[in-house]
Amino acid sequence: MKTKDFEPKIMTFLCNWCSYAGADLAGVSRLQYPTNTRVIRVPCSGRIDPLFILKCLQDGYDGVLISGCHPGDCHYISGNYVARRRFAILKTALEFMGIEPGRVQFSWVSAGEGEKFSQVISKVTEAVKVLGPMRKLVKAANSLVG
């Protein structure tokens, strides 16, 4: 498949208090952004187990975006800081596994940043498009493992 025809599927985890509201604002403001994302709302970015991300990649998503409150703005004080540490671990593990770290992205979007949300989605979609389909973990034809 050529890159230009490829439409990636991207799983997006949004924190209830900031990024989800940011996505809402983007919608209410009628901002346009790629439709490649599927959204799961989570109470806090700190709720996300690295396992969720691996599971998404295994189940055929080409990329994963995690978005939470800006540093210092976490509804639960420090959930996003912990998420960032957990994320640093996952990045190291992904590198070891040979999965392009660009497939998994992390960003801060607040409730007032509808504009930023649409930009983040465009940027991530573009980045994953360049990387191409996630074949390694699941999609390899006739691969019997996974």
Partner: protein, 369 residues
């Protein structure tokens, strides 16, 4: 320099005598150590209160039937010890226990830890036919010379953390020329010095970190390099991991014996990771064939992300794996990489928080956006 209690007996007998002294003088209520359970040389961890039963104790037997850290956590999970217990454990077991204590899975209170400069242990499978007992003379020779000991577990050969970090007493073994005649017990804490008051034996001062110890450390580093090279751990990549973990029979033994895998209900033992019939159908449509049961590789990758930050490299996972997957090599490698970014040595210091329980406000900004 530390003060050292010198007993003119072999290391094992000396240690046994120390334990006997502690019990008889009621300095401790019980002793936790490896004990003979069968004539063929099988051992298991035991709690002993009767000094006479110490004759079956084999505190230095080169086998790790289970990671003692996990056992000590089970002893103190509900309540801390009411009375002191002396526990003879290996450095990695002590580190594992400290990691568990940090996770509120046990308590250090009233424990007196006796550890050794650890020469390594033999694989579990060798414990069955008395093979280890046959190896003991050879083992002792190599310990004296400070060698990497052949036939011990690969992870032990490659272990750099063989000096206990927080034991109250340390029995010097590595590179000690006369462990068959002398037992030298390093007293690392005041508590330890008090406990042995009144015991026969000579008190001397010396360093634990000898030339032999330093040499062994570099030999082990070399072994570790070889171990990583053997399975080309850095170049495995996903396809290599999928191949390696593809052998897994799904017994989850590695997580049962892992001291860091402490969750009572593991996600992977639940039904959450069973595929719906419709998932099978859609997967089959896409790929023409799927592995049954599903999520075997995900289980290992998930465990890697969960455990790596605290992996002490005790090697139990490889030891119990019926499919002979080099788990501990992979976990050691990823563990090292992860621990490096937090500058963290698991189980070194109980005061140091687990990296996931603390944070700095401006760190790892490179992972954002």
């Amino acid at each position: 320099m530390s003060s050292v209690l010198k007993l003119s007996r072999s290391a094992e007998e000396g240690l046994r005598e120390l334990l006997k002294f502690l019990l008889e003088k009621k300095r401790v209520k019980a002793v936790f150590t490896l004990c003979k359970i069968k004539k063929n040389g099988t051992v298991s961890y035991s709690l002993i209160t009767d000094a006479d039963m110490l004759k079956d104790a084999l505190p230095l037997f080169p086998l790790m039937p289970q990671n003692a850290g996990k056992l000590l956590s089970r002893l103190t999970l509900k309540e801390h010890l009411a009375e002191p217990i002396a526990a003879v454990v290996r450095p990695c077991e002590l580190r594992a226990f400290i990691e568990l204590v940090k996770r509120e899975q046990g308590s250090l209170e009233n424990f007196i830890f006796i550890s050794t400069t650890c020469p390594g242990t033999y694989p579990l499978e060798m414990s069955v036919n008395g093979d280890i007992s046959k190896k003991l003379p050879e083992y002792e020779e190599d310990v004296k010379k400070g060698n990497v000991i052949s036939d011990t577990r690969p992870i032990c050969k490659a272990c750099e953390h063989f000096m206990p970090y927080s034991a109250d007493m340390t029995v010097a073994l590595i590179g000690e020329k006369d462990i068959d005649k002398n037992c030298e017990i390093f007293l690392n804490t005041e508590k330890a010095e008090k406990l042995i008051e009144g015991m026969d034996g000579e008190l001397v001062e010396r360093e634990l970190e000898t030339e032999e110890v330093k040499n062994l450390r570099s030999k082990r580093q070399e072994e570790k390099r070889k171990l990583f090279e053997e399975i080309n751990v850095e170049g495995l990549g996903l396809s290599g991991l999928v191949e390696t973990f593809g052998r897994c029979i799904g017994c989850h033994g590695c997580s049962r014996v892992c001291p860091i895998c402490y969750c009572v209900l593991c996600d992977f033992d639940s039904r959450d990771y069973e595929n719906e019939p419709s998932t099978y159908e859609s997967e089959l449509k896409k790929r023409g064939g799927v592995r049954v049961p599903p999520n075997t590789v995900l289980y290992h990758l998930g465990r890697l992300t969960h455990v790596s930050v605290s992996c002490v490299g005790c090697g139990m996972c490889t030891d119990v794996c019926p499919a002979d997957i080099p788990l501990s090599t992979i976990f050691l490698k990823v563990g090292e990489e992860v621990q490096k970014i937090f500058n963290y040595i698991p189980g070194k210091d109980v005061e140091e928080a687990i990296p996931l329980n603390k944070f700095e406000k401006d760190e790892f900004t490179e992972v954002e956006d």
